[in-house]
C-alpha cells in the first residue's frame, strides 16, 4: 500500500518536473504528420540548428549554477561577438582564422560588459533576472551608438562594403560571405542528406567537458555554494560578490563565442537587431529541455534544442495545414516560446515561496517542541 502510494507520488513528481518537455513531445508528435516534411529534411534542419545554437545555450549554465537565475544578459556577449565580427569582416580575414580571431577579439568586450552586468546584479540581488533583461535594452542602445556613430569617425572602418554610404556607421546587414559556414564545412559528413558539422560539434563537446570539469574546481564549488546560500557561503569565507561577477563574465564570454558560431552558420546578420531575440530563444530552449531557474544540466540543453527547434520548424506548416493561415502557426510558436518562459518563472517563484514558508513552519514547529537551542 505504502509502496503504491510512493510509486504514485514518484510518477506525479516526475510529471511535475518534466511537464514542459512532455508537453513539447506531444506538440511535436501532433505537428509532425500535419507539417508533412520528409524525415531527412527534418533531421538535417535539426542537426543544423543544434550546431548553431547549443554553444549559446550552454553559456546559460554557469550563472544558474551560481544561483543568479536565467542570464537574460547573455545578449551582452552576443553584442560583443557581433562587434568582433564587424572588425574581422572589415580586416578581410577569411575562413577559420577569421572566426578564431573574432572569438579572441570578442573576449575583452565580453569581459568588460560582463563585469558591468555582474556589478549591477550585485547591487540588485534578488532581481538579477529583470536587471539582466533591462541591461539588454540599455546596452543595446550603447551598441547602436558604437555601431552607427562611433564606427567610422573614431574607430576606423576601411571597407566600403560594410560602411554606410553616408561615410560612417555600419550598413544594416553585415555580410559574412568569407566566414560563412567555415566551421561547419570543416570535416563535415554528409550522410543520407543530413549534413553533420563535425568541427562545430567537437567545439561544443569541448565546452561541455569544460563545464563538467569546471564544476569540480574550487571556483565551481564556490559558485555552487553561493548559489545555494549566499550568507552561508560568505560565512565560509567565499568572496560572494567576486564569485558572482566571475560567473556572469564567463557566461558573457561564452555567449560571445556562441554568437560567432551562430552567425558564421547563417552567413550574415542585421547589424542592429541580430542580438535582440537570441536571449529569449536560448532561454526558452533551455527551459523546454526541462531545466528550471535554479537547476540546469547539459542534458537539458541538448533535449531542449531538439524539442524546441523541432517545434519551431513544424509549427508554421502545421498551423497553416490546420487553419489555412500561415501567420497563425507563426504566432503560435512565438506564443509557445514566451509561454514556456512564463510558466518556468511562475513555477520557480511559487516553489521559492513555498520553500520559504516551509522553512518558517519547520522553525515554528521546532520552537513549539522547545528544540531550538542557540
Amino acid at each position: 500500500m505504502k509502496m503504491k502510494k510512493n510509486l504514485f507520488g514518484q510518477s506525479s513528481d516526475f510529471l511535475q518536473n518534466n511537464l514542459v518537455p512532455i508537453m513539447f513531445i506531444i506538440i511535436c508528435i501532433i505537428c509532425y504528420p500535419l507539417a508533412g516534411f520528409s524525415p531527412s529534411y527534418l533531421l538535417n534542419e535539426i542537426v543544423t540548428r543544434m550546431g548553431r545554437n547549443i554553444f549559446l545555450i550552454l553559456s546559460l549554465l554557469i550563472p544558474i549554477m551560481a544561483g543568479m537565475g536565467l542570464n537574460f544578459g547573455m545578449t551582452l556577449g552576443a553584442m560583443a561577438g557581433q562587434i568582433a565580427l564587424i572588425f574581422v569582416t572589415d580586416w578581410q580575414i577569411w575562413g577559420i582564422p577569421g572566426v578564431v580571431l573574432a572569438m579572441l577579439l570578442s573576449i575583452p568586450f565580453s569581459v568588460l560588459l560582463g563585469m558591468m552586468c555582474g556589478k549591477l546584479m550585485n547591487m540588485a540581488k534578488g532581481r538579477e533576472m529583470i536587471l539582466g533583461y533591462m541591461m539588454n535594452y540599455f546596452v543595446g542602445g550603447l551598441y547602436q551608438l558604437v555601431v552607427l556613430f562611433i564606427m567610422g569617425p573614431i574607430i576606423p572602418i576601411k571597407h566600403a562594403s560594410i560602411r554606410l554610404p553616408r561615410g560612417y556607421g555600419i550598413r544594416t546587414t553585415v555580410n559574412l560571405t568569407s566566414l560563412r559556414q567555415c566551421l561547419d564545412n570543416e570535416f563535415a559528413i554528409l550522410y543520407k542528406g543530413v549534413k553533420i558539422p563535425v568541427l562545430t560539434f567537437i567545439i561544443i563537446g569541448a565546452l561541455c567537458l569544460f563545464i563538467l570539469w569546471f564544476r569540480r574546481t574550487k571556483l565551481g564549488q564556490d559558485m555552487r555554494a553561493v548559489g545555494q546560500d549566499m550568507e552561508v557561503a560568505r560565512a565560509a569565507g567565499i568572496k560572494v560578490e567576486r564569485t558572482r561577477i566571475i560567473a556572469i563574465i564567463m557566461s558573457t564570454v561564452f555567449a560571445g563565442f556562441g554568437q560567432i558560431i551562430y552567425l558564421q552558420n547563417i552567413g550574415n546578420f542585421p547589424t542592429c537587431t541580430a542580438h535582440t531575440q537570441i536571449g529569449m530563444f536560448c532561454i526558452a530552449a533551455l527551459l523546454v529541455g526541462g531545466a528550471s531557474v535554479e537547476k540546469a544540466s547539459i542534458g537539458n540543453v541538448f533535449l531542449g534544442v531538439i524539442l524546441f527547434h523541432t517545434m519551431f520548424i513544424l509549427a508554421p506548416r502545421a498551423g497553416a495545414a490546420i487553419t489555412g493561415d500561415a501567420m497563425i502557426g507563426e504566432y503560435f510558436r512565438v506564443f509557445v516560446s514566451y509561454g514556456v518562459i512564463t510558466l518556468a518563472l511562475i513555477m520557480y517563484e511559487t516553489k521559492k515561496r513555498r520553500a520559504k514558508s516551509q522553512g518558517g513552519q519547520l522553525l515554528a514547529q521546532a520552537q513549539r517542541e522547545g528544540g531550538v537551542r542557540s
Binding site: 534578488g126 501567420m327 504566432y331
Partner: protein, 358 residues
C-alpha cells in the same frame, strides 16, 4: 565663509540625493535642449505643442503604474495586458457600429469587464509569486500579447474598416480612427493660437481628462482602501497585523492598474489617430516604466507628481532630441539617445536599494 560654502555643498548633495543624479542629468539635458531650440532653428511654440500633445497621449499609461507600485507589486511590466483589454474594447466598439465620441465612451465601457477579468487573473497570479513580480509580469505581458495575435486573426470581426482588405478575415495591423474617436479628447475645448501667428495648440480636453483621472487616483489613495494599499506596499507584515487583507488589496491594485492601462491605450489612440494591433503592445511597457522612474518614482514608491513630471520630461526628451540635436549636429542620433536614457533609467532604479521589506 567656509561654513556657508560647506552648507551650500551639503545642500547640493542633499538635492542630488533626493532628486537622484540621473534625473538631474535628464532635467539638465532637457533645459539645455529648450535653450538650444531657437539656436537650432526650431520654433519654440511648436516644440511646446508637441510636448503637450505627447503628454496627452501617454500620461494615462504612465498613471497606470501607480496603483501597483503603491501596493508593493513593483513596476507594472505587465501593462500590455491592460493594453490588450483596451484594444478589445476599441475593436469591439467599432465592430458594434458606434462612431464619433460615443465610440470612445463605449470602448472604455466594453474594455472594463475585460480589464477586470484580465486584471483579476493577473492579480491572483502575482499574489502567488510575491517578490518576483516584475520578471513574471514581463513575460505574462509577452505571452498574452502573442496569444492575442492569434486571436486577432481568429475572432470573427466583420466591420469593413478594421478587417483585412482582401480576405476579410482577421484584423488589420493598423487602422485609422478618423470616423471614430480620433482626437475626441484633444479637440474638446482646444485652444488654437495659430490665427495670431503663434504655433501653439493646447489639447485642453486631453489635459482635463488626465487631470480628472489623476485627481480620482489621488482621491482614491486617500480613501480607506487607498491608505490600506499604501500600507500593504510599504510594510506587508504590519498591514497584515493591522487586519488588512493583503491579497485582496494587491488584487485590487492590479485590476486598477490593468483598467488604467486599458483607458491609457484608448487615450493614446485618440491622440495618435490609429489603432495598432498584433505586436504593437510589446514595446509599450518600457517607455511608461521609464517615464514614471524619470519622474522620481522608485520600485516601491510613486506619486501623481512623479507621473506628471516624468511624462513631461520623458516626452520632452522624445520630441525635442530629434528636432534639436539633428539640426545642431546633423546626425540622427536621437533614437539612440532615447533608448539609452529610458532603459538606463530603469536599470538605475532596479539597482537602488528599496526601503521597507517585501
Amino acid at each position: 565663509m567656509d561654513k556657508s560654502e560647506r552648507l551650500q555643498q551639503t545642500r547640493l548633495n542633499q538635492l542630488v540625493n533626493t532628486y537622484g543624479l540621473p534625473r538631474l542629468i535628464i532635467t539638465g539635458f532637457l533645459i539645455f535642449l529648450f535653450i538650444m531650440a531657437p539656436v537650432a532653428g526650431a520654433d519654440f511654440p511648436t516644440q511646446i505643442t508637441n510636448v503637450l500633445n505627447r503628454f496627452g497621449w501617454n500620461a494615462v499609461l504612465v498613471l497606470a503604474m501607480v496603483p501597483m507600485v503603491h501596493s508593493g507589486c513593483g513596476l507594472n511590466f505587465g501593462i500590455p495586458l491592460g493594453i490588450l483589454a483596451g484594444l478589445l474594447g476599441a475593436t469591439l466598439s467599432i465592430q458594434f457600429g458606434f462612431t464619433g465620441a460615443l465610440s470612445f465612451v463605449m470602448a472604455i465601457v466594453i474594455s472594463t469587464p475585460f480589464a477586470i477579468l484580465f486584471g483579476g487573473g493577473y492579480g491572483a497570479l502575482l499574489n502567488k509569486i510575491k517578490g518576483g513580480e516584475m520578471m513574471v509580469a514581463t513575460y505574462v505581458g509577452f505571452s498574452s500579447v502573442s496569444f492575442m495575435c492569434i486571436m486577432w486573426l481568429m475572432i470573427p470581426y466583420t466591420h469593413p474598416s478594421i478587417v483585412m482588405a482582401y480576405t476579410g478575415v482577421g484584423l488589420r495591423n493598423m487602422f485609422s480612427l478618423d470616423n471614430f474617436y480620433a482626437n475626441v479628447l484633444s479637440d474638446f475645448l482646444k485652444i488654437d493660437l495659430n490665427p495670431i501667428d503663434v504655433n501653439l495648440v493646447i489639447p485642453t480636453g486631453s489635459l482635463l481628462f488626465i487631470a480628472l483621472l489623476c485627481f480620482l487616483m489621488w482621491a482614491f489613495l486617500h480613501t480607506k482602501t487607498g491608505t490600506a494599499m499604501t500600507a500593504v506596499g510599504s510594510n506587508p507584515t504590519f498591514a497584515k497585523a493591522s487586519g488588512i487583507n493583503v491579497d485582496r488589496i494587491r488584487m485590487l491594485s492590479v485590476i486598477l492598474s490593468t483598467w488604467l492601462g486599458a483607458v491609457g491605450i484608448l487615450v493614446y489612440q485618440q491622440g495618435f489617430g490609429f489603432v495598432q494591433l498584433y505586436m504593437a503592445p510589446f514595446n509599450m511597457a518600457i517607455p511608461a516604466v521609464a517615464a514614471i522612474l524619470i519622474g522620481g518614482a522608485s520600485v516601491n514608491k510613486a506619486s501623481i507628481g512623479n507621473v506628471v513630471i516624468g511624462t513631461i520630461l520623458f516626452q520632452g526628451l522624445v520630441t525635442m532630441t530629434p528636432t534639436v540635436i539633428n539640426s545642431l549636429i546633423h546626425i540622427d542620433i536621437s533614437e539612440v539617445i532615447r533608448v539609452i536614457v529610458s532603459n538606463g533609467m530603469v536599470v538605475y532604479a532596479l539597482t537602488r536599494k528599496t526601503e521597507g521589506g517585501k
